[in-house]
């Protein structure tokens, strides 16, 4: 590969500030998640309350964090579209992977409870 010329200082400056901005976002999201978990713990007894809503919130926030890490830190936002698609499209399989296996898990619990294998 040929020798690289140093980057244009203006581009460099904007890239550096974009990275620090992403850092602040990641930190804020993590703090919000932990605060939400603690508030929920204080508000409801274990096993009570709208747990699904809270879990949905956690999943969405984690996907947002993943977006900042992959997009900004790993520079994916600035790559060619074809490269982005070859990496991201296969992860679509995970959606079915998750649904199928969690479904199977709860079916197991039902069967075990029904046949009184467990108490």
């Amino acid at each position: 590969m040929a020798h690289h010329e140093p980057l244009d200082p203006a581009v460099y400056k904007s890239q550096v500030s974009a990275v620090w901005k992403a850092t602040i976002w990641l930190t804020v999201i993590t703090v919000v998640e932990v605060v939400a978990a603690i508030i929920y713990m204080e508000m409801y007894e274990a096993g009570e309350g709208p747990r699904l809503l809270l879990n949905g919130f956690f999943v969405v926030m984690s996907l947002l964090k993943a977006f900042f890490i992959v997009g900004e830190f790993m520079h994916m936002r600035y790559e060619k579209r074809a490269l982005v698609l070859t990496v991201l499209v296969p992860t679509v399989f995970l959606i079915w992977f998750i649904i199928a296996f969690l479904w199977e898990g709860s079916a197991w619990l039902n069967a075990r409870t029904f046949w009184e294998v467990i108490g």
């Binding site: 690289h4 980057l7 850092t23 998640e33 932990v34 978990a37 713990m41 956690f58 898990g105 619990l109």
Partner: protein, 226 residues
């Protein structure tokens, strides 16, 4: 017609050989595909955690399990320590991004400085994880803690098995990343990349290091939040 010809010409130009249609080098592209396969490995582990959790009548409450803090006897700070660990890993990732950016500027001293800070962050994370494992294994009051075979959280033993397997596998990734970062830092300091004319190796190892941070987001989600 005209636009078809134009389109064909540009596709031929892109895919006709002699240059990367993705505008990245072979090594960097293969690093992306390796990380994709590694993402499936971690997904399989985390989904098996979900499956076993769904088929168990009881499970541990993370706010009860993860409430310890170093230097504070019998602390009850749910998620406190793991938040610090998360922040350390994010910062370490940022330091390595800064090293990559200094590499684009062909600034050797900058690359070495930020890479060194990134290594410190990775080592700090591993130290935190060592404390957390020790704390869980021995238990808060030096009584019974969590091992592969038993725990005091009212959860099946698979909770401990999955916890040690998945955080251990992630920790091993962090360890490998720290070793790779050290190699890159020494090579940068020795002027290897300066002579080569580019710092692309920093980018490739940087991709791996950010991936380790990315996996931690989901380990944090599954074990500590959900």
């Amino acid at each position: 017609m005209a636009s078809d010809t134009l389109h064909a010409a540009s596709a031929d130009e892109q895919w006709g050989g002699g240059r990367s249609p993705f505008n990245v080098s072979y090594g960097k592209l293969m690093m992306w595909y390796f990380l994709l396969s590694d993402a499936f490995t971690f997904s399989a582990l985390l989904i098996s955690y979900g499956t076993i959790r769904f088929m168990s009548p009881t499970w541990a409450d993370p706010n009860e399990v993860f409430n310890g803090m170093p230097f504070i006897e019998n602390a009850n700070l749910p998620l406190g320590f793991v938040s610090i660990m998360t922040f350390i890993l994010i910062l370490s990732s940022v330091f390595v991004v800064r090293a990559v950016q200094e590499g684009h500027m062909m600034n050797k001293a900058g690359v070495v400085k930020w890479m060194f800070l990134g290594i410190l962050g990775g080592a700090a994370f591993l130290g935190c994880q060592a404390w957390e494992w020790t704390h869980l294994i021995h238990g808060a009051d030096h009584g019974h803690g969590m091992t592969l075979y038993r725990n005091t959280f009212g959860a099946p033993s698979s909770f401990g098995q999955l916890f040690f397997l998945i955080t251990g596998f992630h920790g091993f990734h962090v360890f490998s990343g720290v070793v790779l970062n050290i190699i890159i830092c020494i090579q940068a300091a020795a002027g290897v990349f300066e002579r080569r004319g580019h710092y692309e190796m920093v980018e490739k190892i940087g991709l791996y290091w950010h991936f380790v941070d990315l996996v931690w987001v989901f380990v944090f989600l599954c074990f500590y939040l959900l």
